[in-house]
């Protein structure tokens, strides 16, 4: 009568062994278990009333569940006693059906109440854990908005996404499972043990002898199978990696005649996977039969010894029946408690990752800010600016420049020279280490970050569009824009034409990953977005290789239109842009090494001149 454990919702077992008796692989260990658990409980504090109800329900349902086999045993005893009586006295069998019905109604009551409270407890607990899950996700998303860019530039996006999905999921599922299990398992173990002893201490000894034997055997098997399981996981990782690599580069494999080599390597790993796989599966699969075998041994022992006791009149048949039921129920809470430590460890490890993220230093709070001027002329002055992504490794050192309103600034330099650093500083994505950046005479570090950012329109090469319609994307900087304004902006950005060819025109849904529009067209949309936002200053990133030549021409024309009459900073690749710029900032290895106009810089015969000549002088 073993209770079948239902898998928690959404649980996805890994490709692990089938035994199901362990957490799969080596559980991740949290660094500070106590502290993390304390923190998790602080999230549960608002629900303490309901948690108390959960605990009470769990206690009631478990106690009633423990009582029922004994009561059912009484029913059997009632029958058996009547039978024995009739045998001994040689009279007709006379079963007292009123007694049986009485016991029966009691039993139905026990079963129903136990089931009701068990469900009540799950109902409450699932609500609590889901609300905590919501809370975690909500806090993470808010945290994303408050973290400095420095954090994002140093961490993989996938890592943060997995906090939102996997880590939070692990916490909620494990909480749901372990919180109630801790209560029910302890009561079950104590309660069942008590009932067993009260029935017969002799039988209890037999039943308990079974436990250490299976524990020892299981530990031996787990140790063995762990080795093969780890090997299997390693081989699995290897084979997935190989498949991924080969299929992602199929054209290369083909043109370099690498198919046979690839297949050979594959077969090698595949055999490794097979050899460790079947052993791992077999060994971990041994667990169930061995457990069953040992519990059957206990069953035989109880049957024999119980029989002997019964003949001697020391135990009733109903009690033997109840005892067997208890014995069957006993293994579950024990394996649960054995597993709970692992579950809690995994919970704490996941929670620790989430908390570590939530505890990251945020952008410095803004106090005593100066209001930004209403009308911005667009004068940008950098005075003695020093900056480094690592504070002890400055890359821009004591740089000063003066950009007059409506001037255009070209930022040039080879790939990887750190041209986006200027963008990061102007937009205050990063704060400078020393010196000042002044817009119309006001130090940007004294303004609100949002105010500074509002002054710039930005078109990056790494175009970002969100999942939504084209119209929504264009209106991203001006959410109250009318359809007319949106179309006007699209027209100005030369995007209207291609938008109209899309299935739903301006209402076509695009997403980050959607392939329905090309990279160049995406850039046109971001230009339209900047046109509509109508900021007094601009930051532009000219298109390079991912865009075809004709679209590039369109982008160029749109950018020219956009930057007309505005102070603009252009990460430039086109010679004409560079040559027409009022100021050229030449970057090399993160630092700004030269500044001036095209003519001035050529005359200087420095790094710029070298760059220029290597590109356009005849080879």
């Amino acid at each position: 009568m073993e209770k079948k454990q239902t898998a928690p919702v959404g649980f996805r077992g890994g490709p692990g062994p089938m035994g199901g008796m362990r957490g799969g692989g080596t559980p991740q260990k949290p660094k500070n278990f106590k502290k993390t658990m304390k923190k998790i409980f602080s999230y549960l504090r608002p629900f303490w009333g309901r948690l108390a109800l959960v605990a009470i329900s769990a206690v009631i349902s478990t106690i009633f569940a423990i009582a029922s086999p004994k009561v059912l045993g009484n029913m059997t005893t009632e029958i058996v006693n009547a039978y024995i009586k009739s045998q001994m006295l040689g009279i007709a069998l006379d079963i007292n059906f009123t007694n049986i019905a009485n016991i029966g109604f009691w039993l139905i009551g026990l079963y129903v109440v136990s089931a009701l409270f068990s469900y009540l407890q799950s109902w409450l607990m699932t609500t609590i854990t889901q609300k905590v899950t919501y809370q975690f996700r909500h806090q993470i998303s808010e945290k994303i908005a408050r973290l400095p860019l420095r954090y994002f530039d140093r961490h993989e996006n996938g890592e943060i996404v997995s906090h939102v999905t996997n880590d939070v999921e692990t916490i909620s599922q494990n909480l749901n499972q372990s919180m109630t299990q801790i209560i029910t398992s302890v009561i079950m173990i104590v309660g069942i043990l008590g009932m067993m002893i009260s029935i017969s201490w002799q039988l209890t000894i037999i039943a308990l002898m079974v436990l250490p034997t299976s524990m020892v055997l299981i530990t031996i098997i787990v140790k063995r199978s762990q080795r093969y399981y780890d090997r299997q996981q390693a081989a699995l990782g290897e084979i997935d990696g190989h498949i991924d690599e080969m299929f992602s580069n199929h054209a290369i494999v083909k043109t370099f005649n690498g198919e046979q080599r690839s297949i050979n390597k594959f077969n090698l790993i595949n055999n490794k996977l097979y050899n460790s796989g079947w052993k791992s599966q077999f060994l971990s699969g041994l667990m169930m039969p061995i457990m069953t075998f040992i519990s059957n041994l206990g069953y035989v022992g109880v049957a024999v010894v119980g029989g002997w006791l019964a003949i001697n009149g020391k135990i009733t048949i109903g009690d033997i029946q109840a005892f067997i039921q208890y014995m069957n129920q006993f293994t579950q809470p024990i394996s649960q408690t054995a597993n709970i430590a692992n579950v809690l460890q995994a919970t704490a490890a996941a929670a620790e990752r989430v908390f570590a993220f939530l505890d990251q230093a945020e952008e410095e709070p803004e106090t005593n800010t100066v209001a930004a001027p209403k009308l911005i002329r667009g004068e940008v002055v950098l005075e003695d600016v020093s900056f480094g992504y690592d504070s002890n490794q400055p890359i821009i050192k004591h740089f000063s420049t003066h950009i007059k309103p409506k001037q255009s600034v070209a930022i040039v330099g080879p790939t990887g020279a750190g041209k986006t650093t200027i963008v990061n500083l102007l937009m205050r994505f990063y704060d400078i280490d020393s010196g000042s950046i002044k817009i119309d005479g006001i130090d940007t570090s004294t303004m609100k970050r949002n105010d500074v950012r509002q002054m710039f329109g930005m078109v990056l090469q790494d175009t970002w569009l969100f999942q939504g319609t084209i119209a929504e994307n264009i209106a991203y900087g001006k959410s109250n824009a009318t359809r007319k304004e949106i179309i006007a902006a699209a027209k100005a950005a030369h995007a209207d034409h291609f938008i109209k060819t899309l299935p739903d025109g301006y209402d076509t849904i695009i997403s980050e990953t959607a392939d329905i529009i090309s990279a160049g067209e995406k850039q046109l949309l971001t230009i339209a977005r900047a046109i509509l936002a109508d900021s007094p200053m601009l930051i532009l990133d000219e298109a390079t290789s991912s865009v075809d030549t004709r679209t590039e021409a369109l982008i160029q024309s749109a950018m020219d239109k956009l930057s007309h009459g505005r102070t603009s900073f252009v990460i430039a690749h086109r010679l004409s842009t560079i040559r027409n710029a009022d100021v050229i900032l030449v970057m090399r290895e993160g630092n700004i090494v030269e500044q001036g106009t095209h003519i001035e810089l050529l005359a200087k015969k420095g790094y710029y001149a070298e760059l220029y000549n290597s590109q356009f002088n005849q080879v």
Binding site: M1, G13, A65, L72, L93, A101, L110, Y111, S114, T126, T127, Y134, R137, E142, I144, L149, F152, V164, L236, I243, E245, M246, F247, N249, H250, I252, K254, T255, F256, N257, G258, E259, N270, N271, G277, W278, Q281, G285, F293, V300, A303, W308, I311, I317, Q321, T415, V423, M458, L460, Q467, Y476, R529, S545, T549, R550, T551, L575, S576, L611, Q615
Partner: protein
């Protein structure tokens, strides 16, 4: 899905063995309760405490039976592990070899990410389900039917309890199935949406902040979060019904056995000892039906994976070697000729290339320029037969490429793709990928022409420096240079560069072109480019527009004769550099 069954054939004997073992296990489980009732009958009929011998006797038999059952179960585990992993090994191998033979046509129609999933996740899914099925699919019916028969034998008039319990159980499962399963898909979608929106917040962090739109993103995420919370609460509440309801059903069923059994005993239709056995059979039947329902949940999942795998095995590569191939000379000249070539992707009506004819001569650079979608890359892909032409022909030194074995043809071609991709290994294995037997000297030479020597020598272990998967530990420009070196190390006669220089800065680009001209004066170069400056010196420039050739000539001719070329050039260079004045 017939093509999947044949991989089971080597395991026929194993399968028969498995069924025998499962029968043994089921026999044990079904017979054990009999002994229990015998013991009980001994107890209640015994007149004195000396009648202990039959109990010992029964106990010993039970012990042996338990041992037999345990051994059967372990052997089942062994056989199931052997079959499931062995079958999947064969299947995985078959599918991998099949996919390696696919041409780009098949890769396009399936997409490489789908092929990867099929060879990895689907395989794992299949293995898990087969292992589970082998343990359950035979045992559950044996146990279910066996228990019902046994219960019927003990007391035919009490079978209704078994049926009622099964009925309740099945009703419960079906209800859950219909209420909850459709919601699972929605939950999965919401999880995807949550991660997508998080990713959006992260990739767009600069734009979001630039436009001060944090609140809007938050609101959007919050809505999805709420939606997901609500649905999860609902689904969990329904799912949580399962356990209390199951316990209730089992409790009531065992109670019914005893209660109703009392009446049966009274009317002498049941022996007292059989009461306990009957209870066991009811439980075993319920367990068996639970197992069956798990099988029913698992099978459709595996069926999806199986169908996806079967689809692959049923697909034949569209490009294969000729039956009687023509062999190329050991060293070829390398003249590549397109004769009125047409091309369209499989299943697409649109023509990507039409009436393309040109000759690329050895010792010369033939450049191809044109807008996106004009078919530039496709022209290159046709030469090593990554795709086959749909009209016309391509010849190398006068021999149709379709008459040459693919491997032989490709030996003479060095291909550098637009997106440089490297393999895990070392710098050396990557450069030598097309020529595994190349000496270090050859590799260094190739690296030096590709302008990669400087950075390779800066690496701690130089040529032996490890390259991570997808080349993630080197920069884009370095990857591109290694990818070029890889083509050079092969020492082919024909080089195909698909816009391979754009990841390089202008300086490296220029130095590389200079080195290529100097070192490989006899080779045929076919170059797709975006930058006019890269191809200005080419002997022949082909201007493509919408899959058609709209101009052939050198820079100076085209600037006068081709409107498309002029347009492109003007957007990139000034009049002085165009040499117009």
């Amino acid at each position: 899905m017939k093509n999947l069954a044949k991989y089971f054939k080597p395991y026929t004997v194993w399968l028969i063995g498995l069924i025998i073992l499962v029968w043994g296990q089921a026999y044990t489980n079904l017979t054990l309760p009999d002994y229990m009732s015998k013991i009980v009958n001994v107890i209640i009929t015994s007149k004195s405490s000396k009648d202990i011998a039959p109990i010992w006797n029964n106990g010993l038999q039970m012990l042996l039976l338990t041992l037999f059952g345990g051994l059967c179960a372990m052997a089942i585990g062994f056989v199931a592990a052997k079959i499931s992993t062995g079958y999947v090994r064969k299947l995985r191998e078959a599918i991998f070899i099949k996919i390696e033979r696919f041409s780009l046509n098949e890769f396009n129609s399936y997409s490489s990410s789908s092929l990867i999933t099929r060879a990895t996740n689907d395989m794992q899914q299949i293995q898990t389900v087969i292992a589970m099925l082998l343990r359950m699919a035979f045992l559950a019916p044996f146990m279910g039917v066996g228990s019902i028969i046994k219960a019927h034998q003990l007391s035919p008039s009490m079978s209704w309890i078994v049926y009622a319990a099964i009925g309740a159980l099945v009703a419960l499962i079906i209800m859950l199935f219909f209420v909850v399963i459709p919601k699972f898909t929605i939950i999965q979608k919401l999880v995807d949406k949550l991660s997508l929106q998080t990713r959006e917040m992260l990739t767009g962090v600069r734009v979001i902040r630039a436009y001060n739109n944090d609140d809007r993103q938050q609101a959007k995420f919050n809505q999805t979060n709420l939606e997901s919370t609500r649905l999860n609460i609902f689904v969990n509440r329904v799912m949580m019904l399962m356990q209390p309801a199951m316990t209730l059903i089992m409790g009531l069923a065992s109670m019914a056995v005893v209660w109703y059994g009392a009446y049966m005993i009274k009317s002498h239709n049941l022996q007292v000892g059989n009461l306990l056995a009957l209870m066991q059979y009811v439980m075993q039947t319920i367990m068996a039906f639970l197992m069956i329902s798990i099988v029913f949940i698992m099978v459709p999942r595996a069926a999806v994976s199986l169908r996806r795998v079967s689809e692959i095995l049923g697909t034949e590569p569209s490009i294969s070697d000729p039956i009687s191939p023509v062999h190329l000379a050991k060293e070829i000249r390398g003249t590549v000729e397109f004769h009125d070539v047409d091309f369209g992707y499989k299943g697409s009506k649109q023509q990507v290339l039409s009436h393309i004819s040109f000759t690329a001569e050895p010792g010369q650079t033939t450049a191809i320029i044109g807008g996106t979608g004009s078919g530039k890359s496709t022209v290159l892909n046709l030469i090593p037969r990554l795709y086959d032409v749909t009209g016309g022909s391509i010849t190398i030194d006068g021999i149709d490429v379709q008459q040459i074995n693919q491997a032989e043809l490709r030996q003479h071609i060095g291909y550098v793709p637009q997106k440089a991709s490297l393999f895990s290994g070392t710098v050396g294995t990557n450069i030598g990928y097309g020529k595994p037997k190349a000496s270090d000297k050859d590799l260094s030479k190739a690296a030096s022409i590709a302008q990669a020597s400087e950075f390779i020598n800066g690496l701690p272990k130089k040529l032996d420096n490890p390259i991570a998967q997808a080349g993630n530990n080197v920069s884009g420009g370095q990857k591109q240079r290694l990818s070029i070196a890889r083509a050079l190390a092969k020492q082919p006669e024909i080089y195909l560069f698909d816009d391979s220089f754009s990841a390089l800065d202008f300086k490296t680009d220029a130095a590389l072109r200079k080195a290529l001209n100097k070192e490989l004066s006899k080779a045929t170069f076919i170059v797709v480019a975006q930058r006019i400056s890269t191809i200005m010196q080419a002997e022949k420039i082909i201007v493509l527009d919408d899959g058609k050739i709209v101009g052939i000539g050198n820079h100076h001719d085209l600037i006068r004769t081709s409107k498309v070329y002029k347009e492109i050039a003007e957007s990139q260079l000034s009049a002085v550099e165009l040499g117009e004045d």
